[in-house]
């Protein structure tokens, strides 16, 4: 069930992480605001190298619990902008959770949306996921807007349900079902004959 990689979108190539991505990854992975969305705390180059090692191994979903992580590379200049990941949480109920991180220098250009669209196509199309969800901090307005624009529904708004770095946390859950996701044009464009058959 390995997907065909890399994935090509308008402006991006989504590919596996490589060892040589370390410096570009460090640029955003160490930022305090990113820590909530990273796997563990990564405050310096060594810790990011550890995270990179893990992400380099996240190359397909074979069984629940697996994660697929893809680096977002800008076609123009082959720059690493950020990454997206898909975590397979439950097999029988077809549940997945996704995450996304972008170097703030490059945010506001629709790159995350472009990468997530391709990731959703992969999740719903290739992996037959039934429902995708994401968590985000209640104060993360950029992410909230993005997820809502992509047609995800706010399903949960937890207040003070947990402590995060010693403070009360506010967490939102967004979700979308397979039948609610409008496939990107690339996948929709089957030859007409195909549809009739």
């Amino acid at each position: 069930m390995s997907p065909a990689l890399p994935i090509d979108t308008d402006r991006l190539v989504l590919r596996r992480f490589e060892r040589s991505d370390l410096s570009a990854l460090c640029e955003y992975h160490v930022l305090p605001a990113m820590q909530r969305y990273t796997l563990g705390r990564t405050r310096d180059r060594d810790e990011v190298a550890g995270a990179l090692g893990i992400m380099r191994g996240q190359i397909s979903l074979q069984r629940p619990g697996d994660t697929l992580t893809l680096a977002m590379i800008r076609k123009d200049d082959e720059k690493l902008l950020g990454h997206v990941s898909l975590h397979w949480t439950d097999c029988t109920a077809g549940q997945g959770e996704f995450r996304f991180l972008i170097n703030p220098v490059h945010s506001g250009n629709g790159f995350v949306r472009e990468a997530l669209s391709a990731l959703f196509d992969l999740a719903f199309g290739h992996y037959r996921i039934h429902r995708l969800m994401a968590r985000c901090d209640g104060r993360n307005h950029n992410s909230i807007k993005l997820l809502q624009q992509m047609g995800l529904r706010l399903e949960a708004h937890y207040r003070e349900h947990a402590l995060f770095q010693g403070e009360w946390d506010e967490e939102l859950h967004f979700a979308i079902l397979d039948r609610e996701w409008q496939r990107s044009s690339k996948v929709e464009d089957l030859p007409p004959r195909h549809r009739v058959a």
Partner: protein, 193 residues
């Protein structure tokens, strides 16, 4: 904070107290029913299963470590009849999170007993239990249960759709919650303060 309550907990019309071996028949009277089990994790229980459940509940009376659960029988103060049960789980010690639940005999529904008993459990959790937030969850179709959450002053925090399978069908679930400060201001208001 670890919790070793003094039982019974008294309310206006009810007593909340640990289960005893003599409760098996009263528990069987409601846990055997399809309508009661509809949105519960377990299906209708046999008498033997009820005896086992009661046996297990007898020891569930304190909160010492994360995951511990207090399950109390609710009886009418007037007659001593067992009319249902309420539970409080210690979900997270550091973040002081609890979760409540309830099951009542349909013969005694519609009188506000569940509300009264659940309020007593919120008082226990937020008071001596020093909890910060108490949540409850139920199937979206379980109207009686989420109306009860409304009456308790809980807020709807989540509405999950098809996030899991429940009894071979897509599950749709509500999560409600109330914070300590919300509970506190409700109690101040109802004390006429």
């Amino acid at each position: 904070m670890a919790l070793y309550p003094n039982y019974p907990l008294q309310t206006e019309r009810l007593r909340l107290r640990p289960f005893t071996r003599g409760d098996v028949d009263a528990v069987f009277a409601y846990r055997r029913r399809e309508d009661v089990a509809l949105y519960l994790f377990d299906g209708p229980l046999s008498r033997e299963e009820c005896a086992l459940a009661v046996q297990q509940r007898i020891g569930q009376i304190t909160l010492e470590v994360e995951g511990d659960k207090v399950v109390l029988g609710v009886e009418l103060a007037s007659s001593g009849a067992l009319i249902g049960e309420v539970s409080l789980i210690w979900r997270n010690v550091d973040a002081r999170q609890g979760e409540i639940g309830w099951i009542f005999d349909p013969a005694y529904q519609g009188h506000g007993y569940a509300t009264e008993a659940a309020n007593a459990l919120l008082d226990l959790g937020f008071g001596p239990g020093d909890m910060h937030r108490i949540a409850a969850r139920c199937d979206v179709r379980n109207i009686a249960s989420w109306r009860l959450m409304d009456r308790l002053g809980m807020r709807r925090e989540a509405h999950f759709r098809e996030h899991a399978l429940f009894k071979n069908q897509w599950d749709e679930e509500f999560v409600y919650a109330i914070l300590w400060q919300e509970w506190h201001s409700r109690r101040e208001a109802s004390d006429g303060g």
